[in-house]
């Protein structure tokens, strides 16, 4: 996998600081597991947070240190499944497998309109934004559209091309509301991606046009 398109530094900083919404974070987390470059950037950005936290004047504690639990409760490696899942070559990055299972062939797609399928993914109750898988048939063009806020897409299979370039597996499209594009899925493979948007309503206009392609185009 050769990754060409990365998340923006500002996006990665929001992720490292822990201020990115759950939807956007899930896409960054998925990209970061497959992208050594962004993983390293996030590590550097986390260091900034650590330095800032360490420089805060301490707040007085009311209670004494807690009694340390027994050895029995020592945790070993909860985190290793993440890399292990990637090494297994599954096509869904490990963070997302919590929501969609471990490979794309088992996904239950819902048809949205001509050549487009989707699966909305569950976020925590009250979490803002929207997260979903999108599958676009080979050669299918999406209507030209803008974005009502930040939007992050990670390509999971196939590729698409728009005026920015070609986006293949592992690439992230980090779009803000100033970008308008008209992505076209690869003629042979089509394209499957996971898309997170900052606001729930962002997709609605686009989806309405996919469902009823002759209205409003």
């Amino acid at each position: 996998m050769t990754i060409i398109h990365h998340a923006d530094d500002a996006t990665l900083m929001g992720y490292a600081a822990g201020t990115l919404s759950e939807a956007l974070s899930s896409v960054v987390a998925s990209h970061v597991t497959v992208c050594p470059r962004c993983r390293a950037e996030v590590a550097r950005m986390e260091r900034i947070g650590a330095v800032m936290m360490a420089a805060l004047p301490g707040a007085a504690l009311l209670a004494p240190p807690p009694r340390t639990p027994d050895r029995d409760t020592v945790m070993t490696d909860e985190g290793d499944h993440v890399l292990a899942a990637i090494d297994r070559g599954g096509d869904i990055p490990a963070p997302l497998s919590r929501l969609v299972g471990s490979d794309l062939s088992s996904v239950q797609w819902k048809r949205l309109g001509f050549g487009v399928w989707h699966v909305p993914l569950a976020l925590s109750p009250g979490a803002p934004g929207d997260l979903r898988l999108i599958k676009v048939a080979p050669g299918q063009a999406m209507p030209e559209h803008g974005h009502g806020g930040s939007e992050l897409s990670l390509i999971l299979a196939g590729s698409y091309t728009d005026k920015i370039g070609r986006f293949g597996v592992g690439d992230v499209a980090d779009l803000d509301d100033e970008v308008e594009h008209k992505p076209v899925a690869d003629r042979v493979t089509g394209c499957i991606c996971v898309i997170a948007s900052e606001q729930k309503a962002q997709f609605k206009g686009l989806f309405a046009r996919i469902v009823q392609p002759f209205v409003g185009l």
Binding site: A10, E46, R71, L83, D176
Partner: protein
């Protein structure tokens, strides 16, 4: 601090843990309060952060990263989980450090303390407008959109200040090589 963490990790040293606790818990509490937690909740979350350090210390390798960064990420994830009630997607550093530290942080020969010093100095020398957005993000926990609203700036300006600040800090750390 990394040494204390090693003591905790390898020897389950309770005294070392108490020292870590006394160093970090007040700062984590402070961090949680700045992120909007009331003092009692902030203290609970600080306790829980340090207890997580105790429980997971065996996963931490002092050669790979900074104890402070590890503790920050634990605190950050706990904040997302408890204060924002959202799922924290971020793995703690040990989860992917194997490749991250050896391949990517090329400044291996330099000690983590030196790097942290450089970050500290670079932060202090940032132009005020950049320092503010970085602080609002990391310490107050505001999203870029919330920062834009708070400062009455376009979102793009907030993002570009974040990027500029990061580039300066990154260069300062790379100069160590």
């Amino acid at each position: 601090m990394a040494d204390l963490l090693q003591q905790v990790a390898v020897h389950r040293d309770v005294d070392a843990f108490r020292q870590l606790f006394q160093t970090y818990a007040p700062r984590v509490k402070s961090y949680m309060m700045r992120q909007g937690a009331d003092p009692n909740t902030a203290e609970e979350l600080a306790q829980e952060t340090l207890l997580t350090v105790w429980r997971k210390a065996a996963l931490y390798s002092g050669e790979k990263g900074s104890a402070t960064t590890w503790i920050f990420t634990i605190a950050r994830n706990l904040r997302i989980d408890r204060l924002r009630k959202e799922f924290p997607w971020q793995e703690l550093p040990e989860g992917h450090d194997e490749t991250a530290s050896s391949d990517i942080l090329p400044d291996e020969a330099v000690s983590e303390a030196e790097r942290a010093n450089k970050v500290q100095t670079a932060l202090a020398s940032l132009p005020e407008d950049q320092h503010v957005v970085v602080s609002l993000s990391y310490i107050e926990g505001l999203s870029h959109s919330e920062i834009a609203e708070r400062l009455n700036l376009p979102l793009g300006t907030v993002k570009s200040r974040m990027r500029l600040a990061y580039q300066k800090i990154r260069e300062a750390v790379e100069d160590l090589k």
